[in-house]
């Protein structure tokens, strides 16, 4: 993308401008990380590590610093892409996040992916709050060719989840994916509702392998760290789906989240189509950052 090009161009310029590595050079690199939404404290942390390496390896060439920085970032993100475990028994996937980040769309894409891989998938519309949320999920269910458990608008989402678990058991579903309403993490009652959903899953189907993903919008700034923190307090979180990476935002805040909470990115959303979901590739992500 254009912004990405501008950005890497700036890094190139920066590197060719500095023939020697000095404090100002590191300060400029810090700014570049901040511009990618990495956040102040994580950027400083990364640059400190970079400085130490530069010193230890006695590097005098700014050109080499770029490769080193990329290495540090890849290491921080974890080298291996992570996804749903290969599992023979029944699996449950809960999808949570703040409003409008792309939960329902990601579920449509995942349902399609796992159906194609031969799994028997079922969806649950536990967003009973937002207008036409279940209708939206129903369209995705149809596109992916899977069935959907839904209740009326305004129904208790925990009851939808309960029904879906029973249906999954009865039908021999291999993967049940649960859509939830967007909720801001500072809304106490909505977070309690999520805690309840989490409990219903844990108690209602203990034999199943349970995974929960937090969906983050790549355009989100530092607030995403707080989102990850608070959501992981009410539901178990295994990873992140980073959406809208097809835009010009680079989603650097996942570095802050990984560094502070250890939460890995599992999938990325790169568009609104059913195939626009990819496993996370730390190397590619780090390249795109610069």
């Amino acid at each position: 993308t254009k912004t990405r090009d501008n950005f890497s161009q700036r890094v190139e310029e920066l590197i060719s401008y500095y023939r020697e590595i000095d404090d100002e050079f590191f300060e400029e690199l810090t700014d570049l990380l901040i511009a990618a939404d990495v956040g102040v404290s994580t950027s400083l942390k990364i640059i400190e590590e970079l400085k130490a390496k530069v010193k230890a390896q006695k590097i005098g060439d700014p050109e080499k610093v770029k490769g080193l920085l990329r290495e540090i970032i890849i290491e921080l993100l974890g080298d291996e892409p992570v996804g749903l475990d290969q599992h023979s028994g029944p699996q449950i996937l809960l999808v949570v996040g703040v409003n409008g980040v792309g939960k329902t769309t990601a579920i449509g894409k995942l349902a399609n992916k796992y159906t194609r891989e031969g799994k028997k998938v079922l969806l649950a519309a536990a967003d009973t709050f937002r207008a036409a949320a279940a209708e939206q999920l129903a369209v995705w269910a149809q596109r992916a060719g899977v069935s959907l458990i839904r209740h009326q608008e305004g129904a208790d989402p925990a009851a939808v989840v309960y029904d879906a678990l029973e249906a999954a058991k009865a039908r021999g579903t291999e993967l049940l994916i649960i859509d939830t309403a967007g909720r801001l993490h500072n809304k106490k009652n909505l977070m309690e509702e999520l805690r309840k959903i989490n409990r219903v899953i844990e108690r209602g189907y203990p034999e199943a392998d349970y995974t929960a993903y937090l969906v983050l919008d790549a355009t989100t700034g530092q607030n995403a760290v707080q989102q990850a923190k608070v959501f992981s307090e009410v539901a178990k979180l295994d990873g992140i789906i980073l959406t809208k990476l097809d835009g010009s935002a680079r989603g650097g805040v996942v570095l802050a989240i990984r560094s502070e909470l250890g939460l890995p990115v599992c999938f990325v959303g790169v568009g609104e189509g059913i195939d626009d979901l990819q496993p996370f590739d730390p190397r590619g992500f780090a390249e795109a950052l610069f």
Partner: protein
């Protein structure tokens, strides 16, 4: 809160400053470093931060402050003044056309809150005695029209839709409907789009031209990070933006994106979304936003002493 540590630090620096009789340039510089961090943690664009800190520093080391009896308070006051100035004045008014219908188009990235805002805006206009109609021009997102119809019905505002038709034609049809049934305001809900998606940007440009939009409102999620500047300037250059609406301000984000887009485009922020319900709608208050960005609530009392 994620920013507590920082805002605490900031307040300590400010308090230290305010206790001083005399300030050196180094004192001001140290304070400005903290201000810079606070702004960056609040997602204010880093280039905007650079400019802002430079401007405040210049004023702060000028005669105005150093010769004052309470230089610390003066610095705080300058930070607050400049921040509020950058946010613009309250102008929560819509530019009505001289001959109705006034046409308003909501544009923005995916999931920003356009559809919800269309209904909120409709309800607000109705309360002011207007007769609004909403055009359903998002023909892409699954169930977008269903969603719009549900929220508009709650607001008691009629919707003009033609299913998955052509957005330009739908907008034209809706305008004709306004003239036929004497609706005085048309609100156009559009699909979410990336500012780098040329075909989609051309589509809103075409709608704008075809129906003669009076006010293009950019709907922006208050949680947006450093990208806010790219988004806002790109929409402005390509489509033309007349005003901004910030959504999801009921979260705990500092909302630095507001400052960034205001600084870059100079467009007024008119309204905010502060929740998912229809009544969660407010005019924009620049002074509150300025305080929120720096986490300055407690510092206001210090300023008042200045």
């Amino acid at each position: 809160m994620a920013f507590e540590g920082l805002s605490e630090k900031l307040q300590n620096v400010m308090k230290k400053l305010s206790g001083r009789g005399k300030l050196s340039e180094a004192d001001v510089k140290a304070a400005m470093r903290e201000v810079r961090l606070a702004l960056l943690e609040a997602d204010v664009n880093y280039l905007v931060v650079k400019d802002f800190v430079k401007k405040v520093s210049e004023r702060a080391v000028g005669g105005e402050v150093l010769s004052s009896l309470t230089p610390g308070q003066q610095v705080i006051k300058i930070v607050n003044e400049e921040l509020t100035a950058l946010m613009g004045k309250t102008q929560a008014r819509i530019n009505y056309a001289s001959a109705p219908p006034t046409v308003i188009m909501l544009v923005g990235l995916q999931g920003a809150g356009k559809t919800t805002m269309a209904a909120k805006l409709g309800l607000n206009l109705k309360k002011q005695g207007k007769k609004p109609l909403i055009a359903a021009c998002d023909v892409y997102r699954p169930a977008a029209i269903d969603q719009l119809k549900i929220v508009a019905e709650k607001a008691g505002v009629p919707v003009f839709e033609q299913g998955q038709g052509q957005p330009v034609k739908i907008a034209q049809g809706a305008k004709a409907e306004c003239q036929r049934l004497l609706y005085d305001t048309l609100i156009i809900d559009t699909a979410g789009r990336l500012q780098i998606d040329q075909a989609m940007m051309d589509e809103v440009k075409a709608i704008r031209q075809a129906v003669g939009v009076h006010e293009v409102m950019l709907v922006l999620d208050a949680m947006t990070g450093q990208e806010a500047v790219n988004v806002a300037s790109s929409f402005n250059e390509q489509v033309g933006v007349d005003s901004v609406i910030l959504t999801k301000l009921d979260g705990d984000t500092r909302g630095g994106a507001a400052l960034s887009l205001r600084a870059v485009t100079g467009k007024p922020i008119k309204f905010c979304g502060v929740g998912e319900k229809l009544e969660d709608f407010e005019p924009f208050y620049p002074d509150r936003m300025a305080n929120r960005i720096l986490g300055m609530g407690d510092m206001l009392s210090l300023i008042e002493q200045a």
